[in-house]
């Protein structure tokens, strides 16, 4: 065994060394890969914080301490009991950020699920039904694409008085059209392919043909689309909360924190800059990972 190992490493290793090194350098040279790794790590961290949530909060996110108002973060004259400082009511920013991440991730995940399910379903319906139904669905897609969605979200939410469930549904509706377009296109081409004809000729129902055979085939492309859509979902929720019609106090989200901190910019920049930075990194990471996934798994989407 030892002799075999020795022989194995002796002879081929010398010619093999240069190409392996070159490919490693090539990978390192594509700093995209490092960026993607950093982005994945950040998304993982955000997800972990969202899941663990209350276990990580040093204080309650609603606990006020009016003696400790406007404490700056560590490194700017703050102390260890409030590492990221406090806001205008003396609430701990770190605890509020952890809670806000939880809420923002919840909205992003639920909203994405609603949009993906709705859009994929309508895409299937359009591709299966063709004719007027398809025409109507694709026109809804065009309408949605053409109009500034924020304005409609604003109208709907303000009239429902910032209801949390309505907010999730509105955020969910934002993304449906991209799944609908993608699914319709892929199902149309799948319907032309041999396997669908084969399964159908065996006499299986539509649910079986589309659910068990077509859907698994297009799932990877849908998952890539899901990652690509994530930033716009995050940005929509945070914009609405920033305008004061999204998440309502005492609940808080990253956008709501930023919007509330806007009134204290002169006194305490950290109240809005810290959540803003996290929103930015969150959506940037999702962008980077989405682009990477697209290039890697689905060159057609390019």
């Amino acid at each position: 065994m030892a002799a075999f190992d020795l022989a194995d490493t002796e002879t081929p290793s010398r010619p093999q060394q240069p190409p392996r090194r070159r490919s490693w350098i090539k990978r390192a040279g594509l700093d995209g890969q490092w960026l993607v790794m950093a982005a994945l790590a950040f998304l993982g961290l955000i997800l972990l914080v969202a899941v663990l949530g209350p276990l990580l909060q040093p204080h309650s996110h609603t606990r006020q301490d009016l003696l400790d108002q406007f404490l700056p973060p560590l490194g700017f004259g703050g102390n260890w009991s409030y590492p990221l400082g406090t806001d205008d009511l003396g609430r701990d920013i770190l605890s509020r950020i952890i809670y806000a991440i939880r809420i923002s991730v919840l909205i992003a995940v639920a909203g994405t699920a609603i949009g993906a399910v709705l859009g994929t379903f309508l895409g299937f319906v359009a591709a299966r039904a063709r004719g007027l139904v398809e025409e109507a669905i694709m026109m809804l897609v065009d309408i949605h694409l053409a109009l500034p969605f924020v304005i409609f979200a604003l109208a709907v939410l303000a009239f429902f008085g910032g209801n949390f469930i309505v907010l999730i549904i509105v955020v969910g509706i934002e993304g449906w059209q991209s799944y609908a377009r993608l699914t319709r296109g892929m199902v149309l081409s799948a319907q032309q392919s041999g396997y669908v004809t084969a399964v159908r000729s065996l006499g299986f129902s539509d649910w079986h043909v589309y659910g068990r055979h077509v859907l698994p085939n297009i799932l990877s492309a849908l998952l890539v689309q899901l990652t690509i859509n994530l930033p716009s979902i995050i940005l929509l929720e945070t914009s609405l909360s920033f305008l004061g019609i999204g998440v309502q106090p005492p609940m808080t989200s990253l956008g709501q924190m930023l919007g509330a901190g806007r009134d204290h910019l002169i006194m305490a920049w950290w109240i809005s800059v810290i959540p803003g930075t996290i929103i930015f990194l969150f959506s940037l990471s999702a962008c980077i990972v989405g682009d990477w996934l697209r290039d890697r798994f689905d060159p057609v989407l390019k």
């Binding site: 109009l147 924020v150 304005i151």
Partner: protein, 309 residues
């Protein structure tokens, strides 16, 4: 070409109808403006008098018919708060929004096209990477956060620029930059990939073989062809800019129509919200109609039936 325009026109008209109807129904189903207008302890008969005066006690379909009849008479309703003509209220604010949106659009176009072209011509270089990094950053940076950072740095720290209002040209700089940035990123990405596609074409080699200079090859041969796919994205960017102006106007206290929308929505001022949505939809739908026509004109291969879905 005529059939193409006619089909597009019909689609635009149906789109408009769907949007106006949807907003009309949503507004009426989700809240009574009279309750937010009058004090909480107002007797019920006075509430009813108000509803009657504004035609709100009629069945919704009758209100809807009346609404359309009024629109064809050029009347989009009155603000329930000031009693003023809603169109007049919106038009007072509109110049500010047009100034902000127009400047932002020019910024995003100039930055997007030049960055995208630069990146495509230097593919794989540091410039290319820098442009791509800019594009992703600009897209991921929420415009309200960029606005707040700019206010912190240039208004509060350095005191070069005013933080809010719309009195001088200085007030325009930061909001327009904020609004234009994310669009610039999207356009740069699009122009880059369109240019990469174009410079591979045989006619580019022919132009080089004829001895055309680099600048002529780019400006005369490459850019017009790269413009074809880019035009579509511009239509969508307009909607994006209008949506963004709502947020940006709020950040910089810019007295435009976007802020009017946010306040009117809060007050349940039906006529003003409906007028805003009507005008915005009409503008965006018209712009996209023009984009479609321009597309058909720029690229003769596009036909009604052959358009990719």
């Amino acid at each position: 070409m005529l059939a193409f325009i006619a089909t597009k026109l019909l689609r635009s008209a149906i789109t408009m109808l769907v949007v106006v109807t949807a907003v009309f129904v949503v507004l009426r189903l989700t809240g009574d403006p009279i309750i937010s207008l009058l004090p909480l302890d107002t007797p019920a008969d006075i509430l009813d008098q108000y509803r009657e005066r504004w035609g709100l006690n009629e069945p919704i379909w009758l209100q809807y018919v009346r609404y359309w009849v009024a629109i064809f008479n050029g009347d989009l309703g009155r603000s329930i708060f000031s009693g003023q003509d809603a169109v007049k209220i919106v038009f007072e604010r509109l110049p500010h929004t047009l100034l902000l949106g127009g400047t932002a659009f020019v910024i995003s176009l100039v930055a997007g096209i030049s960055f995208g072209t630069l990146a495509a011509l230097n593919r794989g270089s540091l410039i290319d990477r820098g442009v791509m990094a800019f594009a992703v950053t600009a897209y991921s940076l929420p415009n309200y956060f960029l606005g707040i950072l700019l206010i912190l740095l240039f208004a509060l720290e350095l005191r070069w620029m005013p933080a809010a209002g719309a009195e001088t040209w200085k007030h325009l700089v930061m909001p327009a930059f904020t609004l234009g940035m994310s669009s610039a990123g999207v356009i740069a990405r699009f122009v880059r990939s369109a240019m990469l596609e174009v410079i591979r074409q045989p006619y580019m080699r022919t132009a080089a073989a004829k001895g055309a200079s680099v600048s002529r090859r780019i400006a005369w041969h490459a850019l017009p062809n790269a413009a074809i796919p880019t035009v579509t994205v511009l239509g969508f960017q307009l909607g994006f800019l209008i949506g963004g102006s709502v947020v940006v106007e709020s950040v910089f206290a810019w007295p435009g129509a976007g802020r009017l929308l946010v306040t009117s929505v809060g007050l349940r001022d039906f006529a003003v919200v409906q007028t805003m949505v009507f005008l915005v939809s009409a503008t965006v739908i018209f712009a996209n109609f023009m984009v479609d026509v321009a597309y058909g004109w720029l690229d003769p291969r596009v036909t009604v039936t052959g358009k990719q879905g």
